[in-house]
C-alpha cells in the first residue's frame, strides 16, 4: 500500500497503569511474555503491507526509541519508507509539545507530505488486536468516504466509556457522541481512523488555528467533519482490547493462557514481531510444573506456575507457587514464595519465603482511581527482601528496596521516601 502512511499515536503516559508507566510510556509496557504493547499495531501495519509508518512519541520516549530503533524486527529498515519516530520539536518561532492527537499529526504534516500519500491511517499504540488495515482502507475507498472510523459493538453498559456512533443502514455516521452518559447505540469507536490526506490536512490546519479546540480526533475533529456526510463506520469484529487499566492489562495477559485463547499469537500468517533479547529456550526442572501458562525463552522454572504469563529470563525457585500473575522480564523469584494475582515488573527480585497477593481485597490507601482491583503491582527494579507478606491491591514503586520481613496489608503501598502519605 504505497499510497498509505500509518501514524501510530504513542505519546500518552497511560496514567491508569500506575507504577508500570512511571518510567516508560504505555505503548512500551511489556505484554504477553515477549512483546511490548506497540508491537501489535506495528505488526499489523507490516502484515497489512503498510511500510510507511510514523510513531508519534512524547512521554518518556527513550525505551520506545530503543525498542523500535530502525525497525529491523518488523522489516521496517527500508530504503523507501520504513519507521520514523516523531517527537515534538522546536522551530524558529516556538517550541511546543503535542497538545493533542490531532495536533501531533498537524505538527508532522511535512513528514507525511514527503510520502505524497492519498490516505493516512491513524492508529493507537496501546491496543491489543490484529486487524488487516488494507481491508480497512479498501472499505474506505469503496464507500467514497473522506473519513472512516473503525468501530466495534460493545456491551451497552460499557458504552459510556467510548466514543459512540449512530449510523444509518449504509454505515454512514450520522451522529457521534464522545463518552455519552446515556448512550443511544453500542457502536464504539476504536480510535482507529482512515482519512483522505488532502481533506484531513485542511481540517487539521483549520483546527490548529482554533484556540478553543483541544486538538483531539475524537473530541474535536470527528464531530466537525460529520457535516461532510462522508464519514463512515468500519465494523470490526474480532479481538480488541484497550489495556488501559491495571485490571484490563492483567486480564488481557491472562486471556492468552486459556486453552483456546481469544487472541491467537500462534497464527503463522499473522505473526507479531518484536525486538527481543537473544535467550536460550526455557528450562523446566524436575521440581518444576507449569499449567495453563505462557513461558518465554530464558526462563528457569523450578517451582509451580499456574495460569500465569512469564516473560523472558524469569527465574522461579524451588517450592514457589505462582498463580494468576504476570511476571515481566528477568524477574527473579526465590524459593518457597507464593505469588497470586500480581503484576511484577521487569528486573524485580522477590526474596525467599515471600507471600504476595494474599488475603482479601481492600481499598487502596495510595490512589483509589488507579489501584481499583485486587491486583498487587510491584514496579521495576525493586528488591523485596525475604519473608515479606503483601496483601491484595498492594502497590510497590519502581527502584525500591523493601526490607526483609515487611508486612503490607491489602490496599497498602511502599514507595521510596513516601511511605507515609
Amino acid at each position: 500500500m504505497k499510497n498509505v502512511v500509518a501514524l501510530i499515536l504513542a505519546g500518552g503516559q497511560g496514567t491508569r497503569l500506575g507504577v508500570l508507566t512511571e518510567k516508560i510510556p504505555k505503548p512500551a509496557v511489556q505484554f504477553g511474555g515477549k512483546y511490548r504493547i506497540i508491537d501489535f499495531t506495528l505488526s499489523n501495519c507490516v502484515n497489512s503491507g503498510i511500510y510507511q509508518v510514523g510513531v508519534l512519541a512524547q512521554y518518556r520516549p527513550h525505551l520506545l526509541n530503543k525498542h523500535i530503533g530502525i525497525g529491523k524486527p518488523w522489516d521496517l529498515d527500508r530504503k523507501g519508507g520504513g519507521v520514523t519516530i516523531l517527537q515534538p520539536y522546536s522551530t524558529l518561532k516556538e517550541s511546543v509539545w503535542y497538545k493533542g492527537t490531532a495536533d501531533a499529526v498537524y505538527q508532522n504534516i511535512e513528514f507525511i507530505d514527503e510520502y505524497k500519500p492519498e490516505y493516512i491511517v491513524v492508529l493507537s499504540g496501546d491496543h491489543i488486536y490484529s486487524m488487516d488495515y488494507s481491508e480497512f482502507v479498501y472499505y474506505h475507498i469503496s464507500k467514497g468516504a473522506l473519513a472512516t472510523i473503525a468501530c466495534m459493538e460493545v456491551p451497552i453498559t460499557e458504552a459510556h466509556r467510548f466514543g459512540i456512533m449512530i449510523t444509518d443502514i449504509d454505515n454512514k455516521i450520522i451522529e457521534f457522541e464522545e463518552k455519552p452518559k446515556k448512550p443511544r447505540s453500542n457502536l464504539a469507536s476504536l480510535g482507529i481512523y482512515v482519512f483522505n490526506w488532502n481533506f484531513i490536512k485542511e481540517v487539521l490546519i483549520e483546527d490548529a488555528k482554533d484556540e478553543s479546540s483541544d486538538h483531539d480526533f475524537g473530541k474535536n475533529i470527528i464531530p466537525k467533519i460529520l457535516s461532510t456526510g462522508k464519514v463512515y463506520a468500519f465494523p470490526f469484529e474480532g479481538y480488541w482490547r484497550d489495556v488501559g487499566t491495571i485490571l484490563s492489562y492483567w486480564e488481557a495477559n491472562l486471556e492468552l493462557t486459556r486453552p483456546i485463547p481469544p487472541f491467537n499469537l500462534y497464527d503463522p500468517n499473522w505473526r507479531i514481531y518484536t525486538k527481543s533479547e537473544e535467550m536460550q529456550p526455557a528450562y523446566i526442572s524436575e521440581t518444576g510444573e507449569v499449567r495453563n501458562s505462557i513461558i518465554s525463552e530464558g526462563c528457569e522454572i523450578h517451582g509451580y506456575v499456574d495460569n500465569s504469563v512469564i516473560s523472558q529470563g524469569v527465574i522461579i525457585g524451588e517450592g514457589s507457587v505462582i498463580r494468576n500473575s504476570v511476571l515481566m522480564t528477568k524477574v527473579c523469584v526465590g524459593s518457597n514464595v507464593v505469588i497470586e494475582d500480581a503484576i511484577i515488573a521487569d528486573n524485580s527480585v522477590i526474596g525467599d519465603n515471600c507471600k504476595i497477593g494474599i488475603g482479601k481485597f481492600a481499598e487502596s490507601k495510595y490512589d483509589k482511581k488507579v489501584y481499583d482491583s485486587h491486583i498487587t503491582v510491584i514496579g521495576m527494579d525493586s528488591k523485596i527482601g525475604e519473608n515479606c507478606e503483601f496483601g491484595k491491591n498492594v502497590v510497590v514503586g519502581n527502584d525500591v528496596v523493601v526490607p526483609a520481613g515487611t508486612k503490607i496489608e491489602s490496599g497498602g503501598f511502599f514507595f521510596s521516601g513516601v511511605n507515609e502519605k
Binding site: T257, Y266, P281, A282, Y283, N292, I294, E297
Partner: protein, 370 residues
Amino acid sequence: MKVLGLILAGGRSEALGKLVHKRASAALPVFGKYRAIDFTLSNMVNSGIYKVGVLTQYNPRSLMDHLGSGKEWDLDRKHGGLYILQPYLGMTGEYWYRGTADAIFQNTTMLRRGDEDYVLIGSGDHIYKMIYNELFSYHFEKGADVTLVVKELDDTYDIKQYGVVVTDVDGRILEFHEKVENPPTRKAFLGVYFINKYLLLDLLYDTVPSGKYDLLLDVIVPNLSRLRVYAYEFNGYWRNVKKGILEYYRINMDVLKREVREELFLKNGKVYTKLKDYPPAKFTGTAKVSNSLVSDGCIVSGIVKNSVLFRGVVVRAGALVENSIVMQDTVIEEGAYVRNAIIDKNCVIRAEQSLIGDFEPVVLEKWMVV
C-alpha cells in the same frame, strides 16, 4: 590487531546418517533453537572478529538459509561482515574443495585482500563458548607461529576419534597423533587454529599445489619441528556434533544440566541464532513437563520428560515424550508415545502411535509421518 575468522563447514559426516541427508553438519539443530555453527560464529563476534568467511561445500542450502546476510550476528556490515565461500568454477579448472587446506587455498584472495594480520580458523561443528582474546595473548606471549587449541579429554570422550598432541613443558607441540588407539596423551586438538596470515599463505602455497590438501596433517604437522606450534589449553565444555548420532544425542541432553546451560548461554557473551518470531511457549492444563528444554512457539498439553523441544513443537494431550529430541514444528498427536528418539523437523507422530529407540536413539527424517 585485526583478525580474520574462517569457519570450516563443508565436511560430510557419514556417522550422522539421516540427520545430514539434507544438511551440512554445521547446520545441525541443537539445544532447541540453535544450529551447531552458531557457537563458533557467536564466539568470533563476541571476540570482536567482524569479518568471517564460512567455507561450505556439502549440502549448503539449510546453512545458507540460516546464515542469510549475517544480520543476527551483526555481520551485515559495510566493512567486513559475513562471506560465504563456496567452491566455484574458474578459468583454470573446476575443483571441489579437496580438503581443508585446499578450501582455504582456493580462497586466498579473501586472505590477500583484507587488512587483517592474523587468521583464526574454527569449525562449524563444535559446541563451546570461548572468548578468543586470551588465546591471542597466549600466542604472542609464547612467540608462537601457530597456536592450536587443545583440551584434556576425560573418559566420556572416545579418545581414538580425536587427534592428540604431545607438548614440552612450555606448551610447544612436539608430536601429533591423529586418531590412534592408545594415544600417548589425552590432550586433544579442538580444531581451532590461530596463525599469522602471511605465514598461512606461505604454507598453503608450499603444500597445496603439490597435492596435499589437509590443513592439519599436510600443512601443520609436517612443520612441527620447523615452526613454533603451541598448544593453548581450553578447560570449558567442548563437544563435536559430528562424531555420531549417539554423541549428537548426548550433547543435546547435556543442556539439561544446569552447569552446561550456564556455561553455554550465560557466560562469555550470548549465542546468536536466526530469529523465527515465534510467540512464547504455551502450557495447557493437562501439561506435565519435567527436566526439559521448551522453546518458543511450543504448545504442550502432554507429558514431556528429559527432552529437548525445538521451536514450534506441539505435544497434544495424552502424548508422552521421554528422553527425546524433537525438532522444529513437529507434532506429537494425542496418546502418542515417543521414547529415546530424535525426530527431525516437520514430522508428525499420529495419535496412539509410538516411536521407541533402544540402545541407540531412533532417528526420524524430516517430513516423516508415523
